[in-house]
C-alpha cells in the first residue's frame, strides 16, 4: 500500500552529482558541463560528498566553508556518516521527487550503494523504485556529450518548451 506522503504532488526531479572540492564543484567547468544543462525549476541539484552525504547545490555555493573541518576527511568513518545521512535524506525527502537521478562516479559509489540498499534484511526505501543510476563512461568521463545524453533521457519532461529536453 502506498501512503499519501510517498506520492509526489507534481513532476519534480532530483539530480545527485558526486562533488569533489577543487575539481568537480559548482562553478567549475567540469561540473557545469553537466549540471549547467539541467538547471530547471523542476530539477533540484544536489552534491553528494563525504562526510556530509548530501547538500543542495545552492548551499554548496553559499557555504563552501563547511568543508573547513570535514571536507578533507575521507576515511571509513566519514564514508559511514555520509551513507547514513544520504539514506536519511532519501527517506525524508525522496517522496517529493518523481525521479531521483544519481551519477555513479568515483569514491561516492560505495556510499550510494550502502545508502540505497542498506544491509541484508533491511526494508527497501520507498524511493528506491524511482531512483535511476547513470554511469559515467570511463573513457569520456564528464567530457563529451555521452553523459549529457544519458541524463537527458532520465530528466526529460517532454514538451518542446522544456529546456532539459531540448
Amino acid at each position: 500500500m502506498v501512503s499519501a506522503l510517498s506520492v509526489p504532488s507534481k513532476d519534480r526531479r532530483a539530480l545527485l552529482i558526486p562533488v569533489t572540492p577543487g575539481s568537480l564543484w559548482p562553478g567549475l567547468e567540469t561540473y557545469e558541463r553537466v549540471a549547467g544543462f539541467f538547471r530547471d525549476p523542476r530539477v533540484d541539484l544536489y552534491g553528494v560528498l563525504m562526510p556530509f552525504g548530501i547538500i543542495g547545490e545552492a548551499m554548496l555555493m553559499q557555504h563552501p566553508e563547511i568543508l573547513v573541518a570535514g571536507g578533507s576527511v575521507m576515511d571509513r568513518r566519514a564514508q559511514r556518516v555520509a551513507a547514513l545521512r544520504l539514506r536519511a535524506w532519501l527517506d525524508d525527502r525522496g517522496a517529493e521527487y518523481t525521479k531521483v537521478v544519481f551519477i555513479v562516479y568515483g569514491s561516492m559509489v560505495p556510499i550510494w550503494s550502502a545508502a540505497l540498499r542498506g544491509t541484508k534484511g533491511s526494508a527497501p526505501l520507498p524511493v528506491a523504485d524511482r531512483v535511476e543510476l547513470v554511469r559515467v563512461n570511463r573513457r569520456t568521463g564528464f567530457r563529451g556529450t555521452l553523459l549529457q545524453r544519458e541524463l537527458k533521457r532520465h530528466l526529460s519532461f517532454g514538451g518542446s518548451r522544456d529546456r532539459v529536453s531540448s
Partner: protein, 129 residues
C-alpha cells in the same frame, strides 16, 4: 543510542565542546554543548570577541541539521558560550531508520564529525577563524 555524542569533541587546538543536555521543541531536538578553551585560553577569548556580532545566527548548510552559537548567562559560574545543534524532527526519525537499516554501531545519532564540521563552519562563515 544517544541523540548527540556525550564524549568531549575537540573542535580545534583551541576549543573543545562538552555535551550538557538536550532540549526539545515541537519541530526539533537541540543538543547543547558548552564551548571551552583547550590549552590556548587567550586564543579562545579573541575568538569569542570576534563571534559577538554573529551570535545566535542559525547556520544550516546541511539538510535537517542546524547549528548556532549563543552566550548563556550563568550567575554562579559566569557567562559561557554554548554551541547548539538542532536536528529536525522528521529528518531525525529518518536518521534513526537509517541507523537501523545500516546496522550502525555508532554511539550517537548525530556524528561528532558533523558537530565539529558545523561548529567550525559556523566560525568560518562569520569570519572569526
Amino acid at each position: 543510542m544517544n541523540l548527540f555524542p556525550t564524549t568531549v569533541i575537540p573542535l580545534d587546538r583551541k576549543t573543545v565542546a562538552h555535551f550538557v543536555g538536550v532540549s526539545r521543541t515541537p519541530f526539533d531536538c537541540v543538543g547543547r554543548f558548552v564551548l571551552s578553551a583547550g590549552d590556548d585560553a587567550g586564543g579562545f577569548v579573541d575568538r569569542l570577541a570576534q563571534l559577538r556580532k554573529a551570535l545566535g545566527l542559525r547556520y544550516a548548510p546541511l539538510p535537517g541539521t542546524w547549528a548556532s552559537i549563543v552566550v548563556v548567562r550563568d550567575d554562579d559560574d559566569g557567562d559561557h558560550m554554548e554551541l547548539r545543534v538542532g536536528l529536525d524532527r522528521r529528518f531525525g526519525h529518518a536518521l534513526v531508520r537509517s541507523h537501523q537499516a545500516l546496522c550502525s554501531r555508532a554511539e550517537s545519532l548525530v556524528a561528532p564529525l558533523t558537530i565539529r564540521s558545523l561548529a567550525l563552519g559556523y566560525v568560518a562563515f562569520v569570519g572569526a577563524s
